[in-house]
């Protein structure tokens, strides 16, 4: 069964195991393509494990080879279909835990948060990296707020709820959320 034909990887499930394979992108130069796929696969596996260690629900990794990861299949529902303020607050707590552990997710969207057994699992660490700067955390949160804004009508309430959760679990929260506002205002022409 093919789960998604996402932008980056083909994800399929075999016997309850999720196999994520970063497929070659022919639009990209082969050399650049291979570099990106290999780097992202290796980093993803490591970051998924680190996040679990920090207390954030993530899939269990079974195996890694080249640009393929085998991991636990989280058979839940994407938050983009069910998000409300209560869930958004929980997301705030999880992101706080990630950030406190020095992890930046890099692609926080409501498609990458899965509700399963009453827990929110964070998936797709393909663009994640280790960093503890306020700036990187700010961009991480900014990306999530942008998905709220671009796909959810009541985004202001969701953002408020997220901030409540984020502040609960993370002492540098105020500094990061302040930076998020700055990032939004930053001098882009658009």
């Amino acid at each position: 069964m093919n789960l998604t034909n996402g932008a980056e990887a083909v994800v399929r499930v075999e016997d309850g195991v999720l196999i994520k394979e970063r497929v070659p992108k022919n639009y990209r130069l082969k050399e650049l393509d291979e570099r990106i796929r290999k780097e992202r696969t290796k980093a993803e596996a490591r970051l998924i494990s680190e996040a679990r260690r920090a207390g954030v629900p993530t899939p269990i990794i079974y195996d890694i080879e080249n640009s393929t990861i085998k991991m636990q299949y989280i058979d839940g529902i994407a938050l983009k279909h069910v998000i409300d303020e209560k869930l958004s607050e929980q997301v705030g707590i999880l992101v706080a835990e990630l950030h406190a552990a020095g992890i930046i997710h890099g692609d926080l969207t409501t498609s990458n948060l899965i509700l399963f057994n009453d827990k929110i699992y964070v998936i797709d660490f393909g663009l994640s990296f280790f960093e503890s700067s306020i700036e990187a955390r700010g961009v991480d949160v900014h990306v999530l707020f942008r998905t709220f804004e671009s796909t959810h009508r009541n985004h202001e309430k969701l953002i408020e709820a997220f901030c409540r959760g984020y502040r609960k679990e993370f002492e540098q929260a105020d500094e990061v959320l302040e930076r998020v506002k700055e990032i939004e205002k930053r001098g882009r022409y658009a």
């Binding site: 992108k25 639009y27 961009v139």
Partner: protein
């Protein structure tokens, strides 16, 4: 859809006036500001626009008259309200207000980015596309969702064209940089690894531009130009593909001056073919900044009652496309299209 609209563009280097109706660009007259050295100087560009505003407006009215369209046939005046260089925007807005008052017709303030999208929908078969808009100042991935064009990804610092221009100036290639970089790329023999910066759905080009400049020390111009292009374009195509996957749409529209680059088109074409999406590129005259796109979105807005009073027609250099209520598309426009 009825009506005839005169629109004026002048957010940056190109001052352009056009008259359109629902079917055709009836007339278009432009005059470009060309910096003697370096890049666009905002004040000089604005002075250029002030000097040539009457020339392009008179010109477009005369040209239209030859085709049987009189000034009295014009139903509204539209202008680029932003985003853009403040001084340029103010100059063009002044010209537009004067025209609206003297012809006694409504004024329409147009978002420049959305004009690029709408002229593309007008001039290609694209209906509900993910738009990659890459120009000097702007780099955005836009798509319609729930009453607005949402920005799914964009540059966090400078536009892609601007990144090319900055590099080209440091490399002594002159302005604008894009066409020369494309030319040099054709004779490259090596790919040099450069920073590939995609942050979620957003992009950053300033570090890439600096790294490319630094790479010139040990590498040929051809190889650096090639590597710069390959890296930057792979970044924007990746974000465009992610927006396709996220929205479930199946069309891509290319807009903006950087869209003239054949390698970028090729990469988007490959990505779309592999995903089973359709890829659309308008004719070149509708890709860079042009008056026709401002007149056309002006017409759409005029027809949906989206006009402004002269008193409330101030410009907005940071005008965001997602601040605009899309009055000109039916409310159920995207129903049934989304997964």
């Amino acid at each position: 859809m009825k009506g005839t609209v005169l629109g004026i563009e002048g957010t940056a280097w190109n001052l352009s006036a056009a008259i359109v109706n629902e079917k055709y660009v009836i007339a278009e007259v432009s005059d470009m500001y060309k910096p003697p050295t370096g890049g666009i100087h905002p004040r000089e560009a604005a002075q250029h626009h002030a000097k040539y505003a009457s020339y392009v407006v008179k010109g477009v009215l005369e040209e239209a008259k030859k085709k049987g369209v009189d000034a009295s046939d014009i139903d509204a005046i539209s202008f680029s309200q932003g985003p853009g260089l403040g001084a340029c925007l103010r100059t063009v807005a002044t010209a537009a207000r004067m025209l609206a008052i003297s012809l006694d017709v409504p004024l329409v303030g147009v978002n420049h980015c959305l004009a690029h999208v709408e002229v593309g929908r007008w001039k290609t078969p694209a209906s509900d596309p993910v738009t990659l808009y890459v120009s000097g100042a702007n780099s955005q991935v836009l798509a319609y969702r729930m009453g607005r064009y949402r920005v799914f990804g964009e540059t966090l610092d400078i536009g892609l064209g601007n990144a090319f221009d900055k590099f080209a100036r440091s490399a002594g290639l002159g302005h604008p940089g894009g066409p020369q970089i494309e030319q040099f790329s054709k004779d490259a023999s090596n790919y040099i690894p450069l920073p590939y910066v995609v942050k979620g759905m957003d992009l950053s080009f300033s570090g890439l531009s600096t790294a490319a400049t630094a790479a010139l020390k040990d590498n040929s111009m051809e190889d650096v130009c090639y590597s710069f292009q390959e890296t930057a374009f792979a970044m924007v195509v990746e974000v465009t593909e992610r927006a396709l996957a996220h929205t479930g749409k199946n069309e891509v529209l290319l807009a903006g001056g950087v869209g003239a680059n054949m390698r970028l088109r090729e990469m988007l074409d490959i990505m779309c073919t592999e995903r089973g999406a359709n890829f659309y590129v308008p004719e070149k005259r509708f890709m860079g900044d042009n008056g026709a796109m401002i007149a056309y979105l002006g017409l759409l807005m005029y027809n949906s009652g989206n006009v402004i009073d002269v008193e409330n027609s101030h410009v907005n250099p940071n005008f965001r496309p997602d601040d605009v209520d899309v009055t000109w598309l039916p409310r159920d426009f995207e129903e049934g299209r989304l997964s």
